[in-house]
């Protein structure tokens, strides 16, 4: 009984928990509500994953209104993978968060934080799970609005500015998306993605359909911070509370990438947008530029969270690069990097959250000598850093290997060289961190706030750091799931 309702539970649980927080208001109780809700959400997503593995695509009619008239939740091997990433990170971050939130956010705003956190989780999961175009827009707005709140909760005054900037740019992005969806509805009379895809057919696209595709692509690209639409991201990541940064870095951009994949390969799939239209080339070039420019900018940052924010933009470049040419291996690389980058970057920002409790906002000046003061945290940062570079034995290597293979399959050896060369830029910024932590003489000064990182922070952060190594050797979950997703996407284009 319950298993047939899993798709609804996935959204309903965090959605109902959010207002509960506002009613309760007591900081600690709110945390417990969020904790329970996010772990139930995670359990539900595992259930969905197993179900999709066993029976294939799940179609769930919301409120029993039959699709395409009602809202359909449609779960295939593509979005279940993303759902699993989002919900697992959601659960881990909420288990980690208590001590960090206590330090970084005013006590009387905790209930707002937890409510927005749960709404953001709801929104991201909703965007991923739903099979309805307008529903996508609604959930996207839920997640975006709650994200603006989450960022603005940062104590630093810059956080307000960063949130406002994201608000403006995010709204433009959302507007583009809704225009795109509106055009599609106008041309086809349906909002159901599955229906849309069959109605768009394999005829060449009409002018309004092309316009819809363009609006959607630009809007989604803004959300996923594709270069040069990334301007909102660095400050948002740098000045948001640590918990928020970890959660966003691991999930928000991933969901946007999923949307891009969904529209490009499924909804517009038969039109072969990447091979027939110049979209593939545009995405390819922008990804390459992102890989190089963002990594280079990262090297010159003083603020460590900002540095890793720029690194995220570069890493998103790898993901969109894999998405930009339609091949099984490339899509596998792209999807598996969604996962590998989520655990790597999530781990990094969680570790930085621990550092922030002891030292305040981590900058290169402040962390000199961190290796002595916090040996485990520093070691974790090194491990995640290696995964970011793509050193063999870490998760990052797996994605890079598939990406290079995919490029070689195309015969583009120059691109393979560029991918590898850009990982050398990651060596530079990661090694700046290593040198500062381990090989500088200055005595480190800690804050006297009396706060100290809790055990759960250490456990969750090290869990992610260890998983960077674990998934560098055991690829049966990460790669198999990704290649299933890639296979599904490739099939949609020939449906």
């Amino acid at each position: 009984m319950i298993s047939t309702q899993l798709p609804a539970l996935q959204i309903v649980v965090p959605l109902l928990a959010a207002p509960l927080c506002v009613i309760v208001r007591h900081p600690r109780t709110c945390w417990i509500i969020a904790l329970v809700a996010s772990w139930i959400t995670f359990a539900v997503s595992i259930g969905l994953f197993i179900e999709v593995q066993n029976i294939g695509v799940i179609s769930y009619a919301m409120g029993n209104w039959a699709p395409p008239w009602g809202i359909e939740y449609r779960i295939d091997s593509v979005n279940v993978y993303v759902i699993l990433i989002v919900s697992s990170i959601g659960a881990l971050v909420s288990s980690y968060a208590l001590a960090s939130v206590n330090v970084e956010i005013d006590k009387d705003r905790h209930y707002l934080f937890w409510a927005s956190y749960l709404l953001c989780l709801t929104g991201l999961l909703g965007v991923t799970i739903t099979g309805d175009a307008f529903n996508i827009f609604v959930f996207l707005e839920i997640s975006s609005l709650s994200t603006y709140v989450l960022i603005a909760l940062g104590r630093n005054r810059h956080a307000l500015y960063a949130a406002f900037r994201y608000l403006i740019l995010g709204t433009i992005g959302a507007t583009f998306i809704v225009i795109g969806i509106g055009l599609l509805y106008l041309m086809t009379g349906t909002l159901n993605l599955y229906d849309l895809s069959s109605r768009l057919g394999d005829m060449s696209l009409t002018q309004p359909q092309l316009a819809a595709l363009a609006f959607l692509t630009v809007g989604i690209s803004l959300k996923l911070a594709l270069f040069p639409l990334h301007l909102w991201l660095p400050n948002a990541y740098a000045f948001a509370p640590s918990v928020v940064t970890s959660f966003l870095a691991a999930t928000a951009t991933k969901v946007a990438v999923y949307l891009l994949l969904r529209f490009a390969y499924d909804v517009f799939g038969k039109s072969q947008v990447f091979s027939e239209l110049p979209l593939g080339e545009v995405l390819l070039v922008l990804s390459i530029v992102a890989m190089f420019v963002a990594s280079t900018v990262a090297i010159f940052q003083h603020d460590i969270k900002r540095m890793f924010a720029y690194s995220s933009i570069a890493q998103i470049g790898y993901i969109t690069l894999g998405a930009s040419f339609a091949s099984q291996t490339a899509l596998t690389a792209s999807v598996v990097h969604l996962f590998n980058h989520a655990i790597t970057k999530g781990g990094i920002f969680l570790l930085l959250g621990i550092v922030a409790i002891r030292l305040g906002q981590p900058t290169f000046k402040k962390i000199e000598g961190l290796g002595k003061l916090m040996p485990w945290t520093s070691a974790g940062l090194v491990i995640c850093g290696l995964s970011l570079i793509g050193v063999p034995g870490t998760a990052g290597f797996i994605s890079k290997w598939y990406l290079v293979l995919a490029v070689l399959e195309k015969g583009w050896w120059w691109l393979a060289l560029m991918i590898l060369a850009s990982s050398l830029l990651a060596v530079l910024y990661v090694w700046r961190l290593v040198e500062a932590m381990y090989f500088s003489k200055t005595e480190i000064s800690t804050l006297n706030t009396g706060a100290s990182p809790s055990l759960s922070m250490y456990i969750i952060a090290s869990l992610l750091a260890v998983s960077c190594i674990f998934f560098g050797f055991h690829t049966s979950f990460s790669v198999d799931g990704a290649s299933e997703a890639a296979k599904a996407l490739m099939e949609y284009t020939n449906r």
């Binding site: 290696l386 570079i389 793509g390 050193v391 063999p392 034995g393 797996i398 290997w401 290079v404 293979l405 070689l408 399959e409 050896w413 393979a416 060289l417 590898l420 060369a421 990982s423 050398l424 060596v427 090694w431 040198e435 381990y438 090989f439 500088s440 003489k441 560098g472 050797f473 055991h474 690829t475 790669v479």
Partner: protein
């Protein structure tokens, strides 16, 4: 039997963990290092008997990609390399204890931990069954030797560390990983196998040539020009690191990988049959000569030794690039010969520094009278590298030379002759000055270095001589490698 291979990796790894747990108790920590080193050596000697019988034990650890994962396999060259590294680790540990204590170095626990990890990854490289495994341990070796290079934490050692890491990681990710991925793309296979993994159709046109170049330049640890700068830069490390890692483990991991890839990925007969591979021999020859000239002009003793290492490493690469079985035997032997000789020389340099604080060649006048044992050992090592009997260096040079003559590569023959003269030119003046010149006035009086240093230095010097008379095991392994004999 076959899962025993894993134990070779686990022993030093376990040692590293125990050292880390020893909680800075000096005696306990160094005791663990020594016991671990001896255990590893005994274990590798037990493995040796299987290899000499012609066995090729394999062990599959886990699958990372379809059909490729972590797998270990012992073949003759890997066995030889593992034996060299593990036996010299024992000696080096004895030496380290004396050196690190006498010079009151800081962070000694980190030093011993990283050292044990470096040996563990060296074992991984030696016993790698495919390119992925080789690459994994190759990178781990770079990463865990980096803290040893920057050990002192000064601006100079940080700069050295940057060059070290930059060149080694840069070349390996930029070229080696690319070459491995490309090989996988072409052949669908990354396992080392006897006559190479390329079929005849795949071995056409430019591709094998480009791949060869990618592999050669990708293996920065082989210190072939122009990617040799990291080795002199790494000399900022404490001397035991320079001795074992930058004369034996790390650099040998480089040339070992070069030889292994030439023999087991390309296949020497395959490479011998195509045109356009001569550049490798010429580049190696150029590296031999120019590095020798730089060595001749260096006044800093460790720098001179470092450039001498660059030149000697290229002997191995040049021998492999002749693609002749007898030269391959020479390459294998030279890995051994250079290891024992150069570690002796580094030990001597460290002993001189510890006893007198001197680091420059020009300061060594008359030091042979104060430190006779050290300088005698230095002489043995130097003679071996010049190629004068009775030292092992003579045998390896002999094999390389006969390989060059029998395959008709006069260029290689000339390079060997000129470089022998250059070797003599940069080593003999040191020996002459040490024994026959008078010390400068008003110099502090000092004797030999601490006793554990002296034990270590005597052992390696004797080994250099003994191996000349008993090179059978190394020869046997070399012959198996080159396919001259089956067992």
């Amino acid at each position: 039997m076959s899962d025993n291979i894993l134990i070779s990796l686990v022993i030093p790894l376990l040692g590293a963990i125990l050292i880390a747990l020893s909680n800075k108790r000096q005696n306990l920590r160094e005791c663990i290092t020594l016991v671990t080193a001896v255990c590893l050596l005994i274990f590798n000697i037990r493995l040796l008997s299987h290899i000499l019988n012609g066995d090729r034990p394999e062990f599959f650890l886990l699958e990372i990609f379809p059909n490729a994962g972590l797998s270990l396999q012992i073949e003759p060259l890997g066995m030889l390399f593992a034996l060299i590294a593990s036996s010299l680790w024992v000696v080096n540990s004895i030496y380290s204890i004396g050196y690190m204590r006498a010079n009151a170095e800081k962070n000694q626990t980190r030093f011993y931990v990283c050292f044990a990890l470096a040996i563990a990854s060296t074992m991984g490289i030696a016993f790698a069954g495919n390119l992925i495994t080789l690459f994994l341990f190759y990178e781990i070796l770079t990463l865990c030797t980096y803290p040893l290079v920057t050990h002192h934490g000064t601006a100079q050692s940080k700069a050295g560390g940057r060059i070290y890491l930059g060149i080694l990681i840069g070349t390996s990710i930029g070229f080696l990983l690319f070459a491995i991925a490309w090989t996988w793309h072409i052949t669908g296979d990354v396992d080392f196998s006897k006559n190479g993994i390329f079929s005849e159709e795949q071995f056409q046109g430019l591709i094998p040539l480009v791949l060869l170049a990618l592999y050669i330049f990708g293996i920065g640890k082989a210190a072939l020009m122009p990617f040799h700068f990291w080795l002199p830069a790494a000399m900022v490390a404490p001397t035991p690191v320079s001795a074992l890692l930058h004369a034996v483990a790390v650099v040998k991991a480089g040339v070992f990988s070069v030889v292994k890839i030439i023999v087991y990925i390309f296949g020497i007969s395959n490479l011998a049959s195509i045109d356009g591979t001569q550049w490798l021999m010429i580049l190696a020859g150029f590296t031999i000569l120019s590095a020798s000239v730089v060595a001749l002009r260096s006044d800093n003793l460790k720098r001179r030794l470092a450039y001498s290492t660059i030149s000697q490493l290229s002997y191995v690469v040049m021998a492999a690039s002749l693609f002749a079985p007898i030269a391959i035997v020479g390459a294998a032997l030279h890995i051994l010969a250079h290891a024992v000789s150069k570690i002796t020389l580094f030990f001597a340099a460290g002993a001189i520094y510890t006893a007198s604080g001197k680091t420059k060649v020009s300061e060594l006048d008359g030091i042979g009278k104060k430190m006779p044992i050290t300088m005698a050992a230095f002489t043995v090592g130097a003679l071996s590298l010049i190629g004068i009997p009775p030292a092992i260096g003579f045998i390896s040079k002999w094999y390389i030379l006969s390989g060059a003559i029998s395959s008709g590569h006069m260029f290689a023959v000339i390079v060997i002759i000129i470089s022998t003269i250059l070797n003599a030119a940069y080593f003999l003046p040191i020996i002459y000055a040490a024994f026959f010149k008078d010390a400068k006035q008003n110099e502090a009086n000092h004797g030999e270095a601490p006793v554990s240093i002296m034990i270590a230095i005597t052992m390696t010097a004797l080994l250099t001589l003994v191996l000349f008379f008993f090179p059978d095991i190394a020869l046997n392994l070399g012959n198996q490698l080159a396919g001259i004999s089956e067992r």
